[in-house]
């Protein structure tokens, strides 16, 4: 019954419209604080470091010829005076630096000047017309160079403008790199935290061991998301008395999207779990609940079974999960695991199955990372590959262990695997395996 006053959910748009590269670039703190990025400035402050009065006059004259921008020159004749000028806080847009000064000479002049003014563009003036020297000066950090024999009127103004824009790009690039690595560190920390949360969803020994000990059941499990966090999970649910349920599920895709769906389904299982329900009916409930939650093309395959040690039985239902292996007395076979994956059907129906599961029997649940693993460009490991591997392990040791399975898989398929990998072996102890 709708109230005449009505009612609705109002969703206000978030203030951070998105989280991504664009957002990073828009952050004002990102913009490099460039003292040098003044391409459109009409006055540029030049610090001319030159001890030859004749050379200094030539450069000053050449700069005076320019009207756009206007160069305002401060002339000093030693490195010490240049450093003192910078340290006094004088505004300097570019430094023209002669390498042979009374108090310094050669490449060390460049490094000492840079130390004093690391973000100020530097143009080296040299009498040596040696391209190797010029290249070296650029390598150690100068932005451009001038050969003194060149006509300064033509070249000095261009060199200054070039040096300023080159320095600006260098600083911008450096700031970008720092920002990107900071974002990357942040992302890695976030994924690591999410990964810990996902591992927290897995059964914990201290909780399940007492019950497993009562029931003489041993569980060996391997769980490895392919990209930090993933779309797989397995778990166990205590039904009381002699019964325990186990499940494994796997969402289509992997990575963060699939991992978020894992949390959804885990919560749904906790909400809807009732030990009195048959596995197939439980899957139906979960499938219907997930249907409205998942995005287009998303689904989960799931296997759910209940082991009853008093009756020596296992009952199960499957929503298209990779067919588990039932092993007993050195033999094994694939269980019927057909069923529509959770989330793909509005009205899913699942068959209930039941088998003997005496002491010595074991069950292997696994994710499709195993069967979909590549052995060559166009061939997957498949159920055939898995069965061959299990056969070889049984022939060698008489019993299947998950450790051997993973080891054998690694030696037979291309690694690293591209999908999240889960493998869980549930053994009834006692009897012959």
């Amino acid at each position: 019954m709708i109230d005449p006053l009505g009612g609705r959910l109002i969703k206000l748009p978030g203030r951070n419209a998105g989280w991504g590269g664009d957002q990073i670039l828009k952050q004002s703190s990102f913009l490099p604080q460039l003292t040098v990025w003044r391409q459109n400035k009409d006055r540029l402050q030049v610090l001319l470091v030159e001890d030859e009065p004749g050379d200094a006059r030539l450069v000053e004259f050449a700069l005076r010829m320019s009207s756009s921008p206007i160069f305002e020159v401060t002339h000093v004749s030693s490195l010490g005076a240049a450093v003192a000028c910078i340290e006094s806080g004088a505004e300097v847009d570019v430094i023209l630096l002669d390498l042979s000064l009374p108090d310094s000479s050669g490449i060390s002049t460049v490094s000492r000047m840079q130390e004093a003014a690391p973000k100020t563009p530097l143009v080296i003036m040299t009498g040596m017309d040696d391209p190797r020297f010029a290249a070296y000066a650029l390598e150690v950090g100068a932005q451009d160079y001038l050969i003194k024999s060149d006509d300064p009127e033509k070249t000095v103004s261009r060199a200054i403008r070039y040096a300023i824009s080159r320095m600006a790009s260098q600083i911008e690039r450096q700031v970008l790199i720092e920002r990107i690595s900071e974002q990357q560190r942040h992302l890695i920390e976030e994924v690591a935290a999410a990964r810990r949360m996902q591992f927290d969803l897995l059964p914990r020994s201290e909780r399940v061991d007492p019950r497993l000990a009562e029931m003489a059941i041993e569980v060996e499990a391997f769980f490895e998301p392919s990209s930090g966090i993933g779309g797989d999970l397995w778990g166990c649910l205590d039904c009381g008395e002699n019964r325990m349920s186990f499940y494994s599920f796997d969402f289509s895709g992997h990575g963060i999207g699939a991992a978020l769906n894992v949390f959804r389904l885990h919560a749904l299982i906790s909400d809807h779990w009732d030990p009195r329900l048959k596995p197939g009916f439980m899957l139906k409930i979960l499938g219907m609940a997930l249907r409205g939650l998942l995005g287009r093309g998303q689904f989960a395959t799931m296997f759910l079974c209940t082991i009853d040690t008093a009756r020596g039985e296992i009952e199960w239902a499957s929503a298209g999960a990779p067919a588990p292996l039932l092993l007993h007395k050195g033999e094994f076979r694939l269980l019927d695991a057909t069923g529509v994956p959770l989330g793909l059907s509005r009205t899913p129906e699942y068959s209930e199955h039941r088998e003997e599961f005496p002491p010595g029997a074991s069950l292997l649940m696994y994710s499709d990372a195993i069967t979909d693993a590549l052995v060559s460009d166009d061939q997957t490991f498949g159920e055939d590959g898995l069965c061959a591997l299990v056969r070889d392990i049984l022939a060698k040791t008489g019993e299947l262990s998950v450790g051997q399975l993973i080891e054998g898989l690694d030696s037979r398929v291309r690694t690293p695997l591209e999908d999240d990998l889960t493998a869980v072996c549930i053994r009834r102890l006692g009897g012959r395996p």
Partner: protein, 101 residues
């Protein structure tokens, strides 16, 4: 994954080749764009040349079905083989798609 589309008037034949998986996502979206103009027709996905399908690929088929259904078209999955057939059987795809062996 590669595909070829042929319209014989009554139905549209789409021959799929290679692997239908996450890497096929973009090509498959292009295919869906092309199929959008074929309304109210039967679309036959010929899977003879399809060597593998994974869970993402299966999801793409369900997306295709949803899109086609909006335009009044229906999908037939024809001649799936080996593990493609196994995947369709395992996930009871016949409950959603018409499957021709």
């Amino acid at each position: 994954m590669q595909f070829r589309v042929r319209d014989d008037g009554a139905s549209v034949h789409v021959a799929l080749e290679g692997q239908l998986n996450f890497a096929a996502n973009e090509d498959f979206q292009v295919l869906l764009g092309q199929l959008a103009s074929h309304k109210n027709k039967k679309v036959v996905f010929d899977m003879t040349g399809l060597s593998h399908i994974d869970s993402v690929g299966l999801g793409l088929l369900y997306i295709a079905r949803e899109d086609m259904a909006e335009g009044g078209a229906s999908i037939v999955l024809a001649h799936p083989r080996d593990n493609v057939l196994r995947m369709l059987q395992l996930t009871e795809a016949h409950k959603t798609f018409e499957i021709q062996r």
